[in-house]
């Protein structure tokens, strides 16, 4: 029975593989990746922004290097947290939807994009939720089209 003879996988290997395929691992991976990417993106955006280190109490004072660096760090951290949350939510919902449907095609990304965008936009009202759903779903569809 079975096809060509292949070496049996040990129990540990099977456990590790099952862990790596699980939804929580993928969500954690997306969270960490999003954090790093968001931090880099935030620091880069802060670098080309002329408003960094701006002190609202004294608008004419040129900020010191330390203040500028601190502001850049804060902005990078805020972007990083946002990207991490969005990445984790998207990855988690996509994994759950794929497990539920039992198929892997481009529709999983579109549905989970709608859910993620809707969840993010819903904090600002229903219309923003619907717009977020549509926008994020379109973005995910474009990326899936590019990847497949």
């Amino acid at each position: 029975m079975g096809g060509l003879p292949s070496p049996q996988k040990t129990d540990q290997e099977k456990m590790i593989e099952r862990g790596m395929e699980s939804c929580t691992f993928k969500a954690v991976l997306a969270c960490v990746g999003g954090f790093v990417l968001g931090g880099a993106f935030g620091v880069f955006t802060a670098g080309i922004d002329t408003n960094v280190g701006f002190d609202p109490k004294d608008p004419l004072k040129t900020p010191t290097a330390r203040e500028v660096l601190k502001d850049m760090g804060q902005r990078g951290m805020s972007y990083a947290k946002n990207f991490a949350i969005v990445g984790a939510m998207f990855s988690c919902t996509e994994c759950i939807i794929e497990s539920h449907r039992g198929k892997s095609d481009w529709k999983n990304a579109v549905y989970s994009g709608c859910v993620t965008g809707g969840a993010i936009g819903l904090r600002a009202g229903l219309k923003a939720g619907v717009l977020g759903c549509g926008g994020f779903a379109a973005f995910s569809a474009a990326i899936e089209y590019y990847l497949r």
């Binding site: 029975m1 395929e21 994994c95 794929e98 497990s99 449907r101 039992g102 198929k103 892997s104 095609d105 999983n108 497949r148």
Partner: protein
């Protein structure tokens, strides 16, 4: 030697039946769950989930149908024996 030969025959039939079932199950579940877009070598999560479900359903169905068929065949045998007894 008759009971032993009968046992051996039954065992051989069972092995053949199992092998046939395995082949059919593999073909059916592969056709249903793995679309022919071979972009990567590993099974994706959706396909793995689909295969788990397909195998579970197939085995469940196989067991139930087997039980039902043995019930029907036992009934048939009894009817035939009664008919033989009543005519003989």
């Amino acid at each position: 030697m008759d009971p032993m030969k009968a046992q051996q025959l039954a065992a051989e039939l069972e092995v053949e039946m199992m092998a046939d079932m395995y082949n059919r199950m593999t073909n059916a579940c592969h056709r249903k769950c793995v679309p022919p877009h071979y972009k990567e070598a590993e099974l994706s999560k959706g396909e793995a989930v689909c295969l788990d479900r397909c195998v579970a359903k197939y085995l469940d169905l196989h067991e139930r149908l087997g039980r039902k068929l043995t019930e029907l065949s036992v009934q048939d045998e009894e009817m035939m024996r009664k008919a033989a007894v009543s005519t003989g």
